[in-house]
Point group: C2
Chain length 433, copies 2
C-alpha cells in the first residue's frame, strides 16, 4: 500500500474472508483507510461493511457516494442493510433509499420505522414459510423450485391461511421424514414468537435461555413478518455485555475507534457528575476541619476508609448489575440477594477492619485511633454492600438502565459514609476535639 | 409447595420448558429447593440441570445419589453431561462415571481429559459426517436410515477416508440439490476448523466473527472428533462478557447464588490488595502532614483529585479491556489507541481542571489554591488515561487476564499521583510551607 501497488494489495486482500477484510480496515490508521478502500473497491461489498466496527464503517461510508451505498445495501439481507443505513445522516439516508429498488426500499423503510434496538430492526424479512396443509414432499419441491432463495436457513416456519405462525420445523426433521407425511405432523407446535417491538436484549435472552437457532417475529396482529437468526443474536449478546462494562465505568459507547470528540462528550459528563459527588464528600470533610488540624493522621487515613468502601461497593454492584442484566435478580429474590450481600459484607468488613485497626494502632501508637478506623471501615463496607444492591435494583425498578448511573451513586455513598463515619467517630469517641 | 401439595406442584411445573423449570429452582429459596426437587423428581431431567445456574445445580446434585446423576447424564449430549459432571468432587465423579454405559463413559472421560474451558470440553461428539465420494441422494438416504440420530443438526461435515474434514454442507443446500449431484460439488470447502485445545473464548470470537452455526473440532492429527454448535457459543459469550465485568470489579465469579463463604474468599483478596494500594496513597499524604496542618483546605480538596482521576482511569481501562477481549486492540494499533486516549484525557482534564480551579478559587477566596488544584487535576487525568491503556495492555502481553488485576494498579496510580501532584504542587508553588 505504501508503494502505491494497488494491484498487489488487491491480490493479497482478495483471498481474505469478508470478516477479515473488515478487520484489516479497523487495524490500519485512519489516513490509510481511504487509499486501501480505493485499491480494493470491488472487494468492499456489503458483507464486509456489515462486519465492520460502527465507527470505522461510518468513516468509510461518508466517503462513498450514496448510489454506491445503495448498490452495496441491495445485496444484503434487510437486517444487515439496515445496520449500514441507520447510522447515516437523514439527508444521505433519503438519497440512498431513493436509489434502491422499490422492494428493497419498502423493506428497509419499514425496518427503519421500528425503534432502534428492537426486534423489528434486527429481523430479516427473507425467510421460508409454508402452509400447514402441505405435505413434506410438497415442501421439499417448493424449496427446490424457489430460484431466488440463495440464503442459508435452518428452520422453516409453518403458517395458517391468515399467515399466523403455527409451528416450526428444523430442516433435519424434513430430511428424515418420508414425503407423504403432513408437515403439520412433523413440525413443533410450541415456539417462541417474538413481538416486533421487543427490545433486542430481551430477544437475546430468550435465544440464550431456550437455545434457539431462529425465531419467528410477529406483528401486533400475530402475523409472521420476519425472522431473527442466532448469528445476529451472537453479535447482540457480545455488544450488550460489552456495553454494560463500559456503562458501569462511565465510558459511554467507549470504543478505541470512537472519534475523540464523541469520546470526550460522553465521558466528561460522568467526570462532571463525579465532581459533583466528590464535592459532597469534600463538604463532609470540611465539617471536620478542626479535628484534622488537631490530628493530621486523620487526613492520612481517611482516604483508606473511602477507597476500600468504594471497592467493596463496586464488587457488589457488578454482581447485582450482571444478575439484573440476565434476569437472574428479580422481585422474588431481591431480599434474599440483599441478605446474601450483607453476609458477605460483614465478613469482608470484619477482616479489613481488623487488619487496618491493628495496623493503625501500631503505626500511630494510638489504640483508640485503631478502634475508630476499624469501626468506620466495618460500617462503610456494610453500607457499601447494601448500596451495591439497592442502587441498581432501584434504578431498574424506575425503568432506568442500572449499568448507567449506579456507579455515581454508589461512589457518592461510600465516599460520604467513609469520611463521615471515620471523622465523626473520631470526634464522638473523644479521640479529638 | 407450602401446602405440601406435591401433586399440584407437579402439575404446574409439568407444562414448563426445561429452561423455565431451571429458572424456578433459581428463584426459590435454598431451603425450598429440596422439597421442590422431590415433588417434580421425574421432570428434573438432564436438560433442566444443564440449564441451571452452576451454584444452584451443585447444591441439587449434591443431594442426588450418584446413580441418579449418571442416569440423568446419560440422556444428554456429551457437552451438557460434562457440564454437570465437571463441577462434582473427584470421588463422586468417579462413581458417576462407573455407573454410566461404557460408551457414554468413554466419551465423557475423554472430554474431561481436555483442560477446562477448551474446545474439547465444549464440543459434542454427536454429529453427522459423510464421506466425500457420496452423492446427495446417498446422503439423504443415510440420514433417513439412521435411527439413532434424534438430535437436531444444521450442517453436516464431509470427511475423507482418513476422517479429515474436507468441507461442510448446510442442510438447506442438500434439500435444494437434485439427488444425483456429488456432495463434494455442493459442499463449501473453506471452513473454520477448531483445534481441540483452543480456548473457548477464542472459539466464541471465531463464531461471532464468521457468523458460524456449527464448526468441526479436529484433534492434533487433523481428524474430526466433534462439533461445536452456536447455542453453546451463545452461553459462552454471555458468560465471558459477564466475567469481565465481575473481574474488573474484583468480584471473582460473583453470582447471587454463590455461597457466602466462596464470595467472601474471592472478594476479600481484592479488598486486601486495595488496602495495600491505599496504604501507598496514605504514605504519600503523610509526607505532607505539615502542609495539611498549615492549610486544612488541602485535606478537604485532595480526595476530589484522586476520585476523579480514578474515575477517568476506569473509563479508559474499561474501553481497553473490552477492546482486548474482542481482539480489537492489537500490537499494530496500540500506539494509535494510546494517542487516542491521551487526546480524550487532555480534553477531559482541561474541562474538569477549569471547573474545579475556578470553584476552589472562589470558595476559598484563594486563586493560587485554584491554580494548584487545576494543574493537579489535569496531570492526574492525563496520567489516568495513559495508565488505563498501559496497565491492561502490559498485563495482556505478560499473559495475564487484563480484566483481573488492572483495577488495582490503575487505582493505585491515580490515587498516588492525585495526592502527590496536588500536595506536591501546593508546596512547590509556595502556597504552603
Amino acid at each position: 500500500l505504501d508503494a502505491a501497488d494497488d494491484e498487489g494489495v488487491r491480490e493479497l486482500v482478495e483471498q481474505l474472508h469478508p470478516a477479515d477484510i473488515a478487520d484489516l480496515f479497523e487495524q490500519v490508521d485512519r489516513e490509510r483507510r481511504g487509499p486501501l478502500a480505493a485499491a480494493v473497491r470491488d472487494l468492499l461489498d456489503g458483507e464486509v461493511l456489515s462486519e465492520m466496527n460502527d465507527f470505522v464503517r461510518e468513516g468509510l461510508v461518508d466517503e462513498l457516494d450514496n448510489v454506491q451505498v445503495a448498490d452495496l445495501a441491495s445485496n444484503l439481507d434487510t437486517d444487515d442493510a439496515v445496520a449500514i443505513i441507520e447510522d447515516m445522516e437523514a439527508e444521505d439516508q433519503r438519497e440512498v433509499l431513493r436509489a434502491l429498488d422499490p422492494d428493497d426500499r419498502a423493506a428497509i423503510e419499514e425496518a427503519l420505522a421500528y425503534p432502534e434496538e428492537t426486534a423489528g430492526r434486527v429481523m430479516q424479512r427473507e425467510l421460508v414459510s409454508v402452509y400447514e396443509n402441505m405435505m413434506v414432499g410438497d415442501v421439499i419441491d417448493f424449496l427446490r423450485d424457489s430460484q431466488d432463495m440463495t440464503m442459508e436457513f435452518w428452520e422453516i416456519f409453518v403458517v395458517d391461511a391468515r399467515h399466523h405462525p403455527v409451528g416450526t420445523c428444523a430442516l433435519s426433521w424434513i430430511l428424515r421424514t418420508p414425503r407423504n407425511f403432513a408437515i403439520a405432523d412433523v413440525m413443533k407446535r410450541e415456539q417462541m414468537l417474538i413481538p416486533v417491538d421487543m427490545d433486542q436484549e430481551e430477544v437475546a435472552l430468550r435465544f440464550q435461555k431456550y437455545g434457539l437457532i431462529s425465531a419467528a417475529v410477529v406483528d401486533s396482529d400475530g402475523r409472521l413478518v420476519g425472522m431473527i437468526t442466532v448469528d445476529d443474536i451472537v453479535d447482540i449478546i457480545a455488544e450488550e455485555a460489552g456495553e454494560d462494562i463500559l456503562r458501569l465505568s462511565g465510558a459511554g459507547e467507549g470504543d478505541i475507534n470512537e472519534p475523540v470528540k464523541d469520546a470526550y462528550r460522553s465521558r466528561v459528563r460522568w467526570l462532571v457528575a463525579n465532581l459533583g459527588t466528590a464535592l459532597v464528600a469534600s463538604f463532609i470533610i470540611s465539617l471536620f476541619g478542626a479535628a484534622i488540624e488537631e490530628m493530621v493522621a486523620l487526613a492520612v487515613l481517611m482516604p483508606i476508609v473511602a477507597s476500600i468502601g468504594g471497592n467493596a461497593g463496586t464488587q457488589t454492584m457488578a454482581v447485582a448489575v450482571r444478575a439484573l442484566a440476565i434476569n437472574e435478580l428479580t422481585r422474588s429474590n431481591t431480599w434474599r440477594t440483599i441478605r446474601h450481600e450483607l453476609a458477605v459484607a460483614i465478613f469482608n468488613g470484619a477482616t479489613i477492619a481488623v487488619l487496618i485497626g491493628i495496623g493503625a494502632a501500631l503505626v500511630f501508637g494510638n489504640p483508640m485511633l485503631g478502634g475508630v478506623i476499624a469501626a468506620a471501615m466495618l460500617i462503610n463496607i456494610v453500607i457499601a454492600g447494601l448500596a451495591g444492591v439497592f442502587v441498581p435494583v432501584t434504578l431498574e425498578r424506575m425503568g432506568q438502565d442500572p449499568a448507567v448511573a449506579s456507579s455515581v451513586f454508589v461512589t457518592m455513598i461510600t465516599d460520604s459514609i467513609g469520611f463521615l463515619a471515620f471523622l465523626g467517630l473520631a470526634v464522638a469517641s473523644g479521640l479529638v476535639g
